[in-house]
């Protein structure tokens, strides 16, 4: 997957998890939780989706790296390159 594809995939996952939110203006460099209603259980849903559909394990110590969209893409790019 390219970085752009990873970003689109993430946005699709987030859209499923918080379907009432408008994600069209989500900024890449600001923490996602500061822009939309996304609580810790929603965040765990993202982790679960990555595990179920892409076989990616995100250790708890790395959760902070997924705080922003850009950070998530940078973190996931080496792990999703083969997908």
């Amino acid at each position: 997957m390219t970085k752009e594809q990873i970003k689109d995939t993430l946005l699709e996952i987030i859209a499923q998890i918080i379907p009432d939110e408008d994600l069209s203006n989500l900024k890449g460099d600001i923490p996602i939780r500061e822009q939309v209603e996304l609580d810790s259980m929603d965040f765990l849903d993202i982790i679960m989706e990555l595990r179920k559909h892409y076989g990616i394990e995100v250790p708890e110590d790395d959760y902070m790296q997924l705080a922003t969209l850009d950070g998530s893409v940078a973190y996931l790019e080496p792990r999703m390159r083969e997908h």
Binding site: I17, I18, P19, D20, E37, M41, D42, L44, D45, M48, R51, K52
Partner: protein, 416 residues
């Protein structure tokens, strides 16, 4: 007879919110019951294939966001819908109320079965590796979930919990709300019952293994309490929540009063896991009449519990004959014949379906009663067509459940 109790000690129903397989509110539900319109349909259930069930058709998004629906349970969505509808029907403005003085008390037959089955089904595709087990599981399956979701949705900060009372749950949720009002624990109670049982293959499979799951080529004819050709229960989902308040409060705010809860009783068979005890049912009915300070001849409508099983129907009819046999005044009907067995919601839904009788004097019929089982013969059983009667002052509602839990609620037409 005018009540001698002070208005603070009289509890009335001032709002009704419900989701039934044949109606999304009381007027729709009542109209379906009077027309004999069944809510039973075919349903595909995991591992079972096609079964017959009562499925509700309300829109959960009327009161919930999509995320709330996704995160919560079906029971939670039904409960929220019913609670919101009940409050709207009672013309209550929540913003102006002390929400720490509102209690939510919901009867359930079971809870967590649906969610657990679904989660096991989900991890099956990952070879049962539990790292794929949802972090939502615990908040979804805690027994207070349906009532708790109501408080989250409505910002109610008073007590909330469910009452596990098998298929007597709906009656007992109402009774518990009344008790909490009389104890001054709350000033307003949302009491009733909820069922999401149609989401569980285990409930259907369990009845089938007992030889008690109804089947019929025509879904609408499957639920046949008291009929010789009955062959079991039709499982339904649904909910009904009543707004309960002290008469003094209801009068102060000019509320529309559907009826007064004048009698109730709960007891236990202490005889069998499944088979009912007519003897204990008689005791329960007599206790409710005695608490209401009335005699059997005062009752105008008896809504039976009959589920369409041979043992259950026969025991209840025997009990009713013993209590009411010498008093031919009361008319009797059965709501399950139209909506199936809404489990924890059944008692409350069936009571609600008969509430309008205080106004319109109509008794909704029992449908699918083509060949009456002689062991189920009752006085004035209203069969297949509604009838109009001269007087409706008291409605008597039976609701019984597994492990031998019996309940009766008696409502009186409101008069100051």
């Amino acid at each position: 007879m005018v009540s001698e109790k002070p208005e603070e000690r009289r509890i009335v129903i001032s709002g009704v919110g419900l989701a039934a397989p044949n109606g999304n509110n009381l007027p729709e539900f009542r109209s379906s019951l009077l027309a004999g319109r069944s809510g039973i349909q075919k349903l595909n259930v995991r591992y079972m294939g096609e079964v017959l069930a009562g499925i509700c058709h309300f829109d959960p998004l009327k009161y919930q966001g999509k995320k709330e629906v996704r995160r919560g349970t079906r029971a939670g969505s039904i409960a929220i819908y019913c609670a919101q509808e009940a409050i709207a029907d009672a013309k209550l403005d929540l913003a102006g109320l002390d929400r720490s003085r509102i209690g939510v008390y919901l009867g359930i037959t079971e809870h967590g079965t649906v969610e657990t089955e679904s989660e096991i089904y989900e991890i099956k595709q990952f070879d049962y590796d539990v790292k794929y087990w949802s972090h939502h599981h615990n908040p979804r399956v805690v027994a207070n979930n349906p009532a708790g979701e109501v408080t989250l949705n409505l910002g109610i900060t008073g007590p909330h919990y469910t009452i596990g009372a098998a298929c007597a749950g709906g009656n007992i949720g109402l009774i518990h709300g009344l008790q909490m009002l009389l104890l001054s624990e709350v000033d307003l109670a949302l009491g009733g019952g909820i069922s999401e049982s149609t989401g569980s293959f285990g409930i259907f499979a369990g009845f089938k293994s007992e030889g008690a799951l109804a089947s019929h080529p025509d879904p609408e004819k499957a639920c046949r309490p008291f009929d010789k050709d009955r062959n079991g229960v039709v499982v339904a989902e649904g909910g009904c929540i009543f707004v309960l308040e002290r008469l003094s409060d209801a009068l102060k705010r000019g509320a529309n009063i559907y009826g007064e809860v004048v009698g109730y009783a709960i007891n236990s068979d202490a005889t069998d896991f499944i088979l009912p005890s007519a003897e204990r049912q008689v005791e329960c009915m007599k206790l409710a009449l005695s608490k209401a300070n009335i005699s059997p001849e005062d009752i105008d409508i008896i809504n039976t519990h009959g589920t369409g099983t041979i043992e259950g129907d026969v025991a209840e009819c025997r009990a009713i004959r013993e209590v009411f046999g010498e008093y031919p005044n009361a008319y009797m009907n059965n709501t399950k014949s139209l909506i199936g067995h809404a489990m924890g919601a059944a008692g409350a839904l069936e009571l609600a379906g008969n509430l309008p009788s205080f106004e319109d004097h109509l008794v909704h019929p029992t449908i699918n009663l083509d060949h009456l089982d002689p062991e189920c013969s009752l006085n004035n059983l209203v069969i297949n067509e509604p009838i109009r009667i001269d007087k409706v002052d008291y409605i008597f509602n039976n609701s019984f459940g597994m492990l031998g839990i019996n309940s009766v609620v008696i409502l009186k037409r409101f008069e100051e």
